[in-house]
């Protein structure tokens, strides 16, 4: 394979991977963040305990989380095909990533919010803050550094999932690594994609930590 061809191939894979990872992460947060918040708020020592909701939602989250990603993706394929018209490629993978990652994100968010000092929430209540104000102005802001760290971890995890999806025709760098490394036996290409993935993870990790530290006012 020519170098230019290789670069083109990798470039396309990189774009697909980034697309799947970022879109899936974003949508997972759109779904997972409110779920994570609701789990904290409705827990028995939350600001609005709702036992049945907390139990049911906690159960659903756990069930989805305990299914390995590849199996989940294969199980979801027929449904995804029905909805978006195809069971393979970046769109299908992105859809599966969202289903797998949203519960994961919910738990990450829950963990971060758990770190918020109960005394501060109580202080806000004593000042007459509504529950919505407490969520928006106290919990999410006080947990911001931890939430951002969590987002970096989530993005990297989703990147890993997207690479796995390559093994079943999911597109992106993982797909390239499998196709060329395994089926066409071109280990060099496989290793190059692996290196690109490693660099991608490093960059995401660094960006995540940097932003989280920069936006943390506890340590200056």
């Amino acid at each position: 394979m020519e170098t230019s061809q290789l670069i083109g191939l990798l470039g396309e894979g990189l774009v697909q991977t980034l697309y799947m990872t970022l879109v899936a992460t974003f949508v997972s947060y759109v779904i997972g963040l409110p779920i994570g918040v609701s789990l904290i708020v409705t827990s028995s020592n939350g600001i609005k305990p709702v036992g049945w909701y907390n139990k049911i939602m906690g159960f659903i989250v756990n069930v989805v989380r305990s299914v390995p990603f590849l199996i989940l993706m294969i199980a979801l394929m027929p449904y995804i095909r029905k909805i978006i018209g195809t069971g393979i490629g970046t769109s299908a993978t992105t859809a599966a990533l969202i289903v797998a990652a949203a519960p994961f994100v919910a738990r990450m968010v829950e963990q971060s919010l758990l770190e918020v000092d109960a005394g501060v929430i109580e202080a806000a209540q004593s000042m007459g803050a509504s529950n919505m104000q407490i969520i928006r102005k106290v919990m999410l802001l006080e947990a911001r550094p931890s939430l951002l760290n969590g987002a970096a971890v989530a993005t990297i995890t989703i990147l890993g999932y997207s690479a796995m999806a390559g093994s079943i025709g999911g597109g992106g760098l993982g797909d390239i690594a499998i196709r060329y490394g395994l089926y066409r036996f071109q280990p060099a290409i496989m290793w190059i994609t692996v290196i690109v993935l490693v660099i991608l993870v490093q960059i995401m990790q660094e960006i995540g930590l940097k932003i989280a530290a920069k936006l943390d006012n506890r340590i200056n």
């Binding site: 501060v120 209540q125 007459g128 509504s130 802001l141 006080e142 550094p145 506890r218 340590i219 200056n220």
Partner: protein, 341 residues
């Protein structure tokens, strides 16, 4: 003038725990006058925090009524209660500041909750930071401030909503003695100059002595004694009060002087500046023995108790008593154990 601002009526609070029911408050009846500095003192676990948290309904009583400004808070909807809470601020032992906001941001917080425009809120917050002497730290974050400074920010924040009452739950318990005095002086000033009612929860007598006008003593969830600080200080009735006011006890006052009359003198402030005892000694030319003294400055005046032993000559002892009565000194005869003669 002395309207009741807070009234707890038959307040009982029970907690359901895994190990059974905990009765944290038992039939509490308490009236707090507007402008008062009301202390609630008791040992750890007595129910002080639970009590103060029922005043703004952070804790909902199992039974009883919480009346604020003539309104039963328990009959309000959550949104109405939130409005009322703007008028009842609270400060805490652990300060409970928002760690991700700077000092001025923390003071702005209650204003933001109330929907005050940002510019206006910041101007007011700056004024309040001046009141607590922290204007030059307006843009410091809590992690950059000392405990005393954090509590000052919390006090400024408490003032932001123009409250009628500030509840203080062990507000100085995490601070060193010097900072404690400064914070208490600030609270006292706020009470006196702005007429804001203070409810001061503490386990430390010194805090009560320094700023409170009235006090209630709470023990195992019950108010065992309450009233004017000076009055209770002068005439503690219950064992709980005596223990709090005279932690050293007076049991050590036994021994060789047992046949002599012993008096406990109470100085409630009026006369403490006059050297009564030394004048008595000079005028009657008879000595007295000092057995115990616990004098203190409460609310700016000298007060305390003193136990003295009168002359063993009954005639002189009688004169000494007459002198004390003439000088209006409050005293009680102490029983003398093991009297033989």
């Amino acid at each position: 003038m002395s309207d009741t601002i807070i009234s707890l009526q038959g307040v009982t609070k029970e907690f359901e725990t895994k190990s059974g029911k905990v009765v944290a408050l038992k039939d509490i009846n308490l009236d707090i006058k507007a402008g008062d500095a009301y202390g609630i003192i008791g040992l750890s676990g007595a129910g002080k925090s639970t009590l103060v948290r029922t005043i703004n309904l952070l804790e909902t009583p199992t039974e009883g009524k919480v009346i604020f400004d003539g309104e039963n808070l328990m009959s309000l909807k959550q949104s109405e209660l939130n409005q009322k809470r703007h008028k009842i601020s609270m400060i805490f032992q652990q300060f409970n500041l928002l760690m991700q906001r700077d000092a001025i941001g923390n003071v702005c917080f209650p204003l933001e909750l109330a929907g005050v425009p940002k510019k206006e809120a910041e101007a007011k917050a700056m004024e309040l930071l001046k009141v607590v002497d922290l204007e030059e730290r307006a843009h410091s974050y809590p992690s950059q401030l000392s405990g005393g400074q954090k509590q000052r920010v919390a006090i400024a924040r408490a003032l932001a909503s123009d409250p009628e009452v500030i509840l203080c739950d062990e507000a100085t318990s995490a601070l060193d003695p010097k900072t404690t005095r400064a914070i208490l002086a600030l609270l006292k000033k706020i009470n006196e100059e702005r007429g804001i009612t203070l409810v001061v929860i503490t386990h430390e007598m010194d805090v009560i002595k320094q700023i409170c006008k009235d006090v209630a003593i709470i023990e195992s969830g019950e108010i065992v004694e309450k009233g004017d600080v000076q009055e209770i200080f002068a005439h503690p009735k219950t064992p709980a009060a005596k223990k709090l006011f005279f932690p050293d006890g007076q049991k050590e006052l036994t021994g060789k002087t047992s046949t002599k009359s012993r008096l406990r003198l109470v100085f409630d402030g009026k006369d403490a500046h006059k050297p009564i005892i030394s004048r008595m000694i000079m005028e009657l030319k008879a000595p007295v023995n000092f057995l115990y003294a616990d004098m203190d400055v409460v609310d700016g005046v000298q007060k305390g108790t003193m136990v003295i032993c009168l002359s063993d000559d009954p005639e002189i002892a009688e004169k000494q008593r007459a002198f004390l009565i003439k000088e209006d000194v409050v005293f009680t005869e102490l029983e003398v154990e093991g009297e033989v003669e």
